[in-house]
């Protein structure tokens, strides 16, 4: 149905935009091992995005590339968290930390979705985001307990990125129409936050308090960064309408 397709776009756009940012790191990471690790995560995410976009477009005859390259900003449904710029490595890690804890719990539950395609896609993805979560948790510890500078940078990054946590747990009317198929975002909050707070406690850090972004990504209202991301991501494809690659 159109509702399931839209829900698949929520998930697919999240992964697509996150992988778009992570891909930048490959060749620029702090060490070669991280070029490989961040590259792996970007690859997993782009894989999830492709499956989800393919699924979302199948009813309306649109390919994954139609959806990735030929939609305009208000037609994307990513949450703002997934559109945040890379910042320094600490910002990237905090973004990964939140995203992967969220993905882990979301995909864990979606495996028993009433929609068998969604269930199959997320069953595969679940194993991969488990690794993403481990990778992020370990870096959270290293940065928090490593040096004074790394701890300071991590705290700044937490302040900057935490405002985007709220939106991913916000229910939208679409969810009411997908009972048994989608996971209601608000029901994820407790478990996901508890998981993150456990890691933060090991990091000897408290939950950041401060701004809360009002979001709107699920209604096509995006943070200012998305326009720049799409300009770059789509530029070549759009210069050659109708071409295949």
């Amino acid at each position: 149905t159109a509702d399931i397709a839209e829900y698949a776009l929520w998930l697919g756009d999240d992964s697509l935009m996150l992988s778009q940012s992570l891909g930048w790191w490959v060749s620029r990471a702090p060490e070669l091992e991280e070029d490989v690790a961040l590259g792996n995560i970007a690859l997993d995410l782009i894989g999830h995005a492709r499956s989800l976009l393919h699924f979302a477009g199948s009813a309306s005859g649109r390919s994954e590339d139609d959806l990735a390259y030929w939609r305009n900003e208000p037609e994307f449904f990513s949450a703002h968290l997934f559109e945040q710029p890379n910042g320094d490595f600490a910002h990237t890690i905090v973004r990964q930390f939140i995203a992967s804890h969220y993905h882990f719990e979301l995909y864990r539950r979606l495996q028993s979705s009433g929609d068998s395609t969604l269930a199959a896609i997320t069953a595969k993805a679940f194993k991969e985001v488990d690794y993403h979560r481990e990778h992020a948790d370990l870096w959270m510890l290293r940065l928090a307990l490593g040096t004074e500078e790394s701890r300071e940078r991590l705290i700044i990054a937490l302040t900057d990125i935490w405002p985007y946590v709220d939106e991913i747990f916000t229910d939208e009317p679409l969810i009411d129409r997908l009972d048994g198929i989608a996971v209601r975002p608000s029901t994820l909050r407790d478990v996901v936050e508890a998981g993150m707070l456990t890691v933060l406690a090991e990091c000897e850090l408290k939950e950041p308090r401060g701004f809360i972004s009002s979001g709107g990504g699920r209604r096509g209202k995006h943070s200012e960064n998305l326009g720049f991301m799409l300009a770059e991501m789509q530029v070549l494809a759009r210069a050659h309408p109708g071409a295949t690659w």
């Binding site: 891909g23 490959v26 702090p30 060490e31 040096t147 500078e149 790394s150």
Partner: protein
């Protein structure tokens, strides 16, 4: 000396020299230079391709490209490990690279202004690299040879992907076909130069050949490469930009046009399209990552201490 005799015997027998074995200083130095240069080439070589990751024109191509650049980081790691067995540290090699004191393959000083360059780099540059590298899988130094086995497998995969990109373009719109041909025109000669100067102008080759680090001459490898390219270009429908290229019935090989080495020497002298930019970006990534590496090292020290205290 007896050690020297044993070393020579191993080389003679096509056996592998291993890290614990005695080896002549020159052999060690030559290998360190060659392996670290090769590692640096993989690392700098990530740049011209990462240039298109965020702009790849389809999600499939984006994924393939990320995987490829990431493989290059992996190759850098294998090769650094192989070099480390010879007594040089990763830090030393990195510092030499950033200070501009270590060489890397000049080909990566060219830029990739178009998407078609992702095809040309794969087809021509990785193609040439493979011709250079396959013989190295039998290099006399064990860790190097074994690293090369893994690398060559992945490189041939990369070359196929480059070929596919060009094939897709050549099957596409007139603009795509023009993009492919323009790119191949730019990369063909630089790829041929990757095999190094002509044999009569290649000073270090004799000793390396004796030590079985090098197994074929520059010109031999270049010829092999062109022999391989010509039929592939025909499949692609691409013209190789050498008007003198033609089949020679006598030699059973293709005759090549004259290579203009001026540009090659200009780039070696630091006057290429992107020498400065390549080192700048490597330096920036290295400097920007310093606090992260420091944090990881400090954390790991603390963990070790805690475990020591606990036990």
């Amino acid at each position: 000396t007896p050690e020297e005799e044993q070393f020579n015997a191993l080389i003679e027998a096509d056996s592998r020299i291993e890290p614990r074995d005695w080896m002549p200083d020159g052999y060690r130095k030559t290998l360190i230079r060659q392996i670290s240069q090769h590692a640096n080439s993989e690392i700098i070589g990530m740049q011209p391709e990462s240039n298109w990751i965020t702009r790849a024109p389809s999600l499939k191509r984006k994924a393939v490209l990320i995987a490829k650049v990431q493989d290059e980081a992996g190759h850098g790691l294998y090769l650094y490990s192989a070099a480390q067995t010879l007594g040089i540290s990763r830090e030393e090699m990195t510092d030499q690279l950033i200070a501009g004191k270590a060489r890397y393959s000049s080909i990566f000083n060219y830029e990739t202004p178009t998407w078609a360059d992702m095809g040309s780099v794969g087809w021509l540059v990785d193609g040439a690299a493979i011709c250079n590298q396959v013989p190295l899988c039998r290099a006399s130094y064990g860790p190097y040879g074994r690293a090369m086995v893994r690398i060559c497998k992945e490189e041939s995969f990369h070359q196929r992907q480059g070929f596919e990109i060009l094939l897709e373009l050549m099957n596409g719109t007139p603009a795509q076909r023009a993009m492919a041909q323009e790119s191949v025109n730019r990369w063909y000669w630089p790829a041929l130069m990757m095999f190094g100067p002509p044999d009569d102008d290649s000073p270090n080759s004799a000793q390396s050949t004796a030590w079985k680090i090098k197994r074929f001459s520059n010109d031999e490898l270049r010829q092999r490469f062109v022999n391989m390219l010509v039929p592939q270009a025909a499949v692609l429908g691409l013209t190789l930009p050498d008007p003198d290229l033609k089949w020679n019935d006598e030699t059973g090989m293709y005759d090549l046009g004259e290579i203009d080495w001026t540009e090659f020497h200009e780039i070696l002298a630091g006057r290429g399209p992107a020498n400065g930019r390549r080192l700048q970006r490597r330096r920036e990534a290295h400097e920007d990552g310093r606090w992260v590496r420091d944090a990881a090292a400090a954390y790991s020290r603390k963990q070790t201490q805690e475990m020591a205290v606990a036990s």
